[in-house]
């Protein structure tokens, strides 16, 4: 009698757990709405020669050129869209034109913006490598940085900077004067508008500011007026990491394409994820490894006007190029 009761109880618990798992799956694990991207090619390899990298950490595309932050070589390398080396600039140091661990990059109106992690500044270059301006310096005050990880440009030319160790995102005028910040300086948090080591930023086609909230394993979005808009990444986007679609294991880079869709480098998951601006999961590509279409920690992502996606494969010391499958290119989705 007692055994039958226990068996029935066990069965009911099993059914309840299965139901719960199904609910969680449906609620928190979205299905792809596009096919994955196709691997086209890769270039690089570890070293110091032109075309080789020692910790590539950032990438940006300007027209027909790809700019790569070659961090331990303290230089920027420039390639054509097929990966042929064109030129390089920068060397180790803190003087104008020199670099201290360049990280995520941004390009706008013929200028390259470089987040310098060790020099605690944003350096602006002409696309030919001519140093144009230095913005910010070390510290935690307004307009100062403690290891900036990434930079983006608003439509009015303001800089948006992921201020990694200050646990905040700053908006500055082009001359470096302070406009506003998101997050409390030096304070880690998991609530809306709080950060846990922000690594990069991107600006949407409507002015939305997207923040790669690195170790909160999520993306946060703020309207152009600065108000918190939405967030996503794992259950309730509250610092839950995982390998499922739409989840993250440390977001390290963001890029927005011409249609306002967002690409995220999902570092420890060895993949790039693509979302619509409202955070809807669209597709993902890449998996761990050394071969074609594989990543050993993907750290940065950029998208070209022709919809090619360039992803930096940190551990394999290379840049990879991807293309959307033909049907997804012809099928503009919201």
């Amino acid at each position: 009698m007692k055994l039958r009761f226990l068996i029935r109880l066990g069965a009911r618990i099993g059914i309840a757990l299965g139901f719960l798992a199904a609910v969680i799956w449906l609620a928190f694990i979205p299905s792809p709405k596009e096919p994955p991207y196709t691997f086209v090619g890769a270039w690089g390899g570890k070293g110091h020669a032109p075309g080789q990298f020692d910790d590539p950490t950032g990438i940006a595309v300007a027209g027909e050129e790809v700019f790569v932050a070659d961090s331990r070589n303290d230089r920027i390398q420039v390639f054509d869209l097929q990966g042929r080396f064109k030129r390089q600039f920068g060397s180790a140091g803190a003087a104008p034109g020199q670099l201290g661990r360049p990280m995520n990059l941004a390009v706008r109106d013929g200028r390259l913006y470089v987040a310098e992690y060790v020099n605690d500044r944003i350096q602006v270059f002409g696309l030919d490598g001519t140093p144009r301006a230095i913005i910010g310096g070390p510290g935690s005050g307004p307009g100062q940085f403690n290891a900036p990880g990434g930079v983006a440009l608003a439509a009015n030319g303001d800089l948006i900077v992921a201020d990694f160790y200050n646990q905040r995102v700053q908006q500055l005028k082009a001359d470096g004067s302070f406009v506003r910040q998101w997050g409390r300086t030096g304070v880690i948090g998991i609530g809306a508008g709080q950060f846990n080591y922000p690594t990069d930023v991107a600006v949407g086609t409507d002015g939305t500011v997207f923040v790669a909230d690195g170790y909160n394993d999520r993306i946060q979005a703020f309207a152009a007026d600065g108000a918190f808009s939405h967030k996503w990444g794992g259950p309730l986007a509250m610092n839950v990491f995982g390998p499922f679609p739409g989840w993250f294991a440390t977001v390290t880079s963001l890029a927005v394409d011409g249609r306002g869709q967002l690409f995220a480098a999902d570092f420890y998951n060895h993949r790039v994820q693509k979302f619509s601006a409202d955070g809807t999961f669209l597709t993902q590509f890449g998996s761990r490894g050394e071969g074609r279409g594989r990543f050993e920690y993907v750290i940065a992502v950029a998208v070209a006007a022709d919809e090619s996606v360039f992803a930096v494969d940190f551990g394999n010391q290379r840049v990879t190029r991807w293309r959307p499958q033909a049907d997804s290119v012809r099928d503009p989705r919201p």
């Binding site: 060790v118 290891a147 160790y165 420890y268």
Partner: protein
């Protein structure tokens, strides 16, 4: 005979002083073990914080091994409390702190990433 003893003693004293000086001025290095050291944001952060400690000449990270090697300027040393503080400021916990011998210190740079 007396002169020979004196010369021998002076040679011994000179050699001893030279040995002492070479040890005192040798570059000391420390191997610091840190958990979860896979991303460059973390590695560069630790390098930056350790590099800010007085006397540190060079910091090199081996991400795969999860170790950081800090090489000091001639005659400088680092205490574990300073290393612990720097690693914590970088967002990590220190798991090991080991002073390397001079030979190991000289070889550390070549082997490190």
């Amino acid at each position: 005979m007396l002169n020979g003893k004196l010369i021998g003693r002076r040679i011994a004293v000179t050699l001893g002083l030279a040995l002492f000086a070479s040890n005192a001025l040798a570059q000391t290095a420390y191997r610091i073990q840190v958990d979860g050291l896979a991303c460059p944001f973390c590695a560069y952060g630790i390098e930056k914080k350790l590099g800010a400690i007085a006397g540190v000449a060079r910091v090199e990270t081996d991400i795969a091994a999860g170790t950081v090697t800090a090489t000091m300027a001639d005659g400088a040393t680092m205490d574990e409390a300073s290393a612990t503080r720097a690693v914590q400021e970088a967002g990590f916990s220190l798991r090991g702190f080991e002073a390397l011998g001079q030979a190991a210190a000289n070889g550390a740079g070549a082997g490190a990433k």
